[in-house]
């Protein structure tokens, strides 16, 4: 909790003592870091440098405070020292840049007028927040950087909160700072209102992500990690105060206050989750509920007739729950209507899942189940434990215990949180009928794979298929109850979008298993697919997602790969694009063979890549041509003389980057990006 924020090597002299300046410095730092780093970033235009200067000020505080005592206003003291360091730095840099001179001059004057300790501009903290949540960074990097810069947390503290090694966080933060510098993201907020709205929603997303990681820890043993929820609440309250005209900022604050109000009630003494309608409402924190209601009123007051945003709708749902004195009093029709509105805004399967649960409360389990069943073949929810958990719950309510039980088993197998797993397994056991007759799917699968005469690669391949069947039905599902229909559904959900070879491999495994277990033709509903002889295979979505979220992915590579992926255009055509061919507004570019079009991912990146260039090759190398090989003029950037990115180079970089993702270890060719 009070780990030192100091660089390694500077150790607290007497940790634990009340007047220990190290601990005071740490507490002050966590309160003031956003304002201090924000102010410094405005001066030096580089968030990485700003943080270093702030760290220098911390070291100075540790040298001086033990001797001179903690100053009267420690925050202002740190700010003043850090700003002085910034001025020194600007001078030392001696670029004789007029603007820098000016800044140093102004700062001197302020100092002379005795206004040095003035309150740092609150807007700097807001700008810093927008900067650390910039969409150019992969989401995990945004989260780490925000906790670091705005929350004043150390890499060690962040690492512990996310159960990651400290080196990973340190690297993530360094990459993020470099990414911002490389993309030359300006410190000022964008003028364009659409872009501003985009940037705000990224800030909201990062804060809510931090909150959710703390609120429903996705992995590990504790269901709650209160440190993170508290950090998110502080950030949310701060954002609402800094952007008081944004209804969504107030709404997010309201949502988090109310969710947090239930934290004491949502785990049992043994650490298991307690479902909302079983929670003791007397343990909900009335203070946080009241704060949530107040934030909600501010959200509505600032809406000015605009349609409600996603956080306002979610906050309204939370408010509706909080208003019900007992679980039975809950206004489920209202909540169902709010989820409907939310689904129109965010058509995601998770929102629909929640709507189905609300609907089951408003109109009975049958109605909810019908809606839920539209989701069982959605590949996005394939590994989402809350879907089988919700189905199990509704089936149990309908008295269909035999069907409910394997759903809970499945949910237990899917969750990565151990407290939740224990809870789901217990629910499954509560519904336990007499021991199932005959062998279970789990037993059959184990026996099938343990047969003599199977070589290792067959066991591995068959194992994948059977593991999926076991997660779909639960290990304890009686193997004799499997039907061809069920198998078809599982296959469609799991591998419907996969390549023909993958599909056929799983199909033959299922056929072999069914034959071995004398289960009849379980693969009856599975058509064999024609495998195109040498078609390039698409990159699997999870690996693609991993690629996009690589920390420190250079802007040029990121833009090129996104563009190739989203347009499906040939590598050659894309590399031949010039800046003047690009129509950012309509998300398309002209090529000799027609238009290349793209989607939001590319649309976000291209403006940064182009920056203020108006012509010349869209994708450039960093080098200028040597004297021996003068390329054609059309392959040169008219301003800088840099050369158009070559096919060979682009291919080489992509291959090298993807070596670790390719099971064969060779790396991929760019053409695979354009294949879906």
């Amino acid at each position: 909790m009070s780990e030192s924020i100091l660089p390694a090597g500077v150790q607290p002299a007497e940790a634990g003592h009340r007047d220990d300046p190290h601990r005071t410095v740490d507490a002050v730092w966590k309160r003031e870091s956003a304002k201090i780093i924000g102010g410094l970033t405005r001066m030096v235009r580089d968030v990485g440098l700003a943080e270093e200067l702030a760290q220098d000020a911390l070291v100075a505080a540790l040298e001086q405070w033990p001797r001179s005592g903690v100053p009267e206003s420690p925050g202002a003291w740190l700010t003043a020292i850090a700003k002085r360091r910034a001025v020194d730095h600007i001078r030392r840099a001696r670029r004789l840049d007029e603007k820098h001179h000016q800044l140093a001059h102004e700062q001197d004057q302020k100092e002379q007028r005795g206004r040095f300790a003035e309150e740092p501009d609150q807007d700097d903290a807001l700008r810093l927040m927008f900067l650390s949540c910039h969409p150019v960074l992969p989401t995990p990097a945004r989260v780490a950087l925000t906790l670091r810069l705005l929350g004043g947390l150390t890499a060690g503290e962040i690492a512990r909160a996310f159960l990651l090694p400290e080196t990973a966080i340190t690297r993530r933060i360094a990459d993020a700072k470099r990414g911002l510098a490389e993309a030359r993201v300006p410190f000022e907020l964008p003028d364009d209102s659409a872009e501003l709205a985009d940037r705000l929603s990224s800030v909201l997303e990062v804060i809510y992500l931090i909150f959710n990681e703390g609120y429903s820890a996705t992995s590990g043993d504790d269901l709650l990690r209160p440190g993170l929820t508290l950090e998110a609440l502080r950030l949310g309250r701060l954002l609402a105060e800094l952007a008081p005209d944004e209804p969504e900022a107030h709404a997010l604050a309201a949502l988090m206050e109310i969710q947090e109000s239930r934290s004491a009630a949502r785990t049992s003494p043994s650490g298991e989750p307690v479902r909302l309608h079983e929670q003791s409402r007397g343990r909900w924190d009335p203070l946080l509920i009241r704060r949530g209601f107040a934030a909600m009123l501010r959200a509505r007051d600032t809406q000015h007739g605009r349609p409600p945003g996603p956080y306002l709708l979610q906050a309204a749902i939370a408010v509706t729950h909080a208003q019900a004195r007992t679980a039975e009093d809950t206004d489920w029709p209202q909540i169902t209507a709010l989820y409907e509105a939310l689904e129109r805004l965010i058509p995601s399967p998770v929102v629909r899942l929640n709507r189905a649960v609300a609907l089951s409360m408003a109109r009975g389990p049958e109605a909810g189940l019908t809606l839920l069943d539209t989701l069982t073949t959605d590949p996005a929810l394939r590994d989402y434990h809350l879907l089988p958990a919700a189905r199990g719950d509704l089936l149990a309510k309908l008295g269909r215990y035999g069907e409910a039980r394997p759903e809970f088993d499945r949910a237990a197998a899917l969750t990565r949180n151990s407290a939740e797993r224990a809870f789901l397994s217990r629910r499954a056991q509560e519904l336990a009928p007499a021991e199932p007759e005959g062998p279970t799917l789990g037993e059959a699968a184990t026996a099938f794979l343990a047969r003599d005469g199977l070589d290792a690669s067959t066991v591995r391949a068959y194992g994948q298929t059977l593991r999926r069947l076991c997660t779909s039905f639960g290990d304890r599902y009686p193997v004799a109850d499997l039907t061809a229909d069920q198998i078809t559904r599982t296959f469609t959900t799991a591998w419907g979008g996969a390549a023909a070879t993958t599909w056929n491999r799983h199909r033959s495994a299922a056929r072999s298993f069914a034959r071995w277990a004398s289960l009849g033709d379980l693969a009856a509903g599975l058509e064999r697919r024609t495998e195109p002889p040498s078609r390039t295979l698409p990159i699997p979505p999870d690996q693609l997602a991993e690629l996009w979220s690589r920390p420190g992915l250079p802007l040029r590579e990121h833009s090129l790969w996104r563009l190739l992926h989203e347009s499906g255009a040939t590598v050659k055509a894309v590399l031949l694009l010039d800046v003047e061919d690009v129509d950012l507004d309509d998300r398309r570019a002209r090529t000799p063979d027609g238009w290349v079009t793209w989607r939001s991912g590319t649309a976000r990146l291209l403006p940064m890549l182009i920056a203020d260039r108006t012509r010349g090759p869209l994708f450039l190398t960093d080098r200028r041509p040597g004297p021996a090989r003068r390329p054609r003029d059309t392959d040169l950037d008219p301003e800088t003389g840099r050369v158009r990115l070559s096919y060979e180079r682009a291919e080489y970089v992509f291959k090298r980057t993807t070596t670790s993702l390719d099971p064969a270890g060779d790396g991929w060719t760019l053409s695979r990006l354009g294949t879906w």
């Binding site: 740490d26 002050v28 502080r234 309250r237 343990r283």
Partner: protein, 107 residues
């Protein structure tokens, strides 16, 4: 974690400067999400004492007024150091007197 800071009454009447400084301080703490609730307490009150089955209700004011509480602030902070640091700033604004901070458990 939450801390409750209680402040004992003083004889000094607050002036306008104090009000302004306190207003700014409260605003800053609310903005940063630290201050959850704050308020001043009336000097008079009602005392309830239970003994066995009997509950006695007495109207104040009471003799030991100096030991009473004149105001409170409920704050949410990351560490005791942070609570102490904020209390320090508060005491610097209000001048001579006494405050107590205690960690709040529950709800």
């Amino acid at each position: 974690m939450r801390y409750l800071m209680t402040t004992k009454p003083t004889d000094v009447a607050p002036d306008e400067n104090l009000f302004a400084a306190m207003g700014a301080f409260v605003e800053e703490l609310t903005a940063s999400g630290v201050l959850l609730a704050t308020g001043g307490l009336a000097p008079n009150g009602v005392r309830l004492v239970s003994s066995g089955d009997e509950i006695t209700v007495t109207d104040g004011p009471f003799a030991e007024a100096k030991e009473a509480v004149a105001g409170f602030a409920l704050i949410e902070v990351r560490s005791e150091e942070e609570a102490v640091e904020l209390a320090r700033r508060f005491r610097r604004i209000v001048g001579d007197g006494e405050s107590v901070i205690q960690q709040v458990f529950g709800p």
